[in-house]
Subunit: 121 residues, 2 copies
């Protein structure tokens, strides 16, 4: 049989809202999520896990309490567990997130930007 | 302080051999590895874990005993644990692999293409 690869760009063509991650695949108990971001996210942390950001298009800045990192297209960064961070992007940025199943986008911070978990596309 | 993002292309500029994965980052007990592939790999499986392939440039085919999948640039595929597979590429292909720390590239198949584990770049 012919197995089907998952096209990241193809997944992005299916939605347009910001800060609403969609799951596209699972590896053991981890998930791959695509998300469009623009504007400011909220300060939050994930107490139980590291979180990986891979920028597919655009530019993302992640602020920390002690600094920041800027990611362009093709750049990867792993935010250590427990480290407070606030992502933001001036123009729209396309991201691949990799993190354990059940990771909520705002951690325990809550608020209006908290997205439904485990939404597949 | 200014944190540094990991440039995938920048990592690829540092090596040229094939089927020799290099670790570029860790997330919990998982590793991100960059690898150049060209030609045939060996049939093998990973009995303990799924394995994720993300094609960054070129085209990769992964044969299974019951079929195959073809990945182009920006395509992702998760090979389920225990599933025998044989990657191959006619022209050079650049990959990002994501799998648990300690995953050997040839599984238990061994042979000349078995790469040293946990080599960072």
């Amino acid at each position: 049989m012919q197995y089907e690869a998952i096209s990241l760009l193809g997944k992005f063509a299916k939605f347009s809202d910001h800060y609403r991650p969609r799951v596209i695949a699972e590896m053991n108990d981890y998930q791959f999520k695509v998300v469009r971001v623009q504007g400011d996210f909220v300060w939050h942390s994930h107490e139980e896990t590291d979180e990986t950001f891979l920028v597919l298009d655009g530019e993302l800045t992640i602020d920390f309490r002690d600094g920041a990192v800027v990611l362009g297209r093709g750049d990867l960064f792993v935010v250590p567990k427990g480290k407070e961070h606030k992502p933001h992007a001036v123009a729209e940025c396309k991201l691949l997130l990799i993190e354990p199943r059940g990771t909520v986008n705002t951690g325990k911070a809550g608020g209006a930007l908290t997205a439904p978990d485990d939404v597949w596309i």
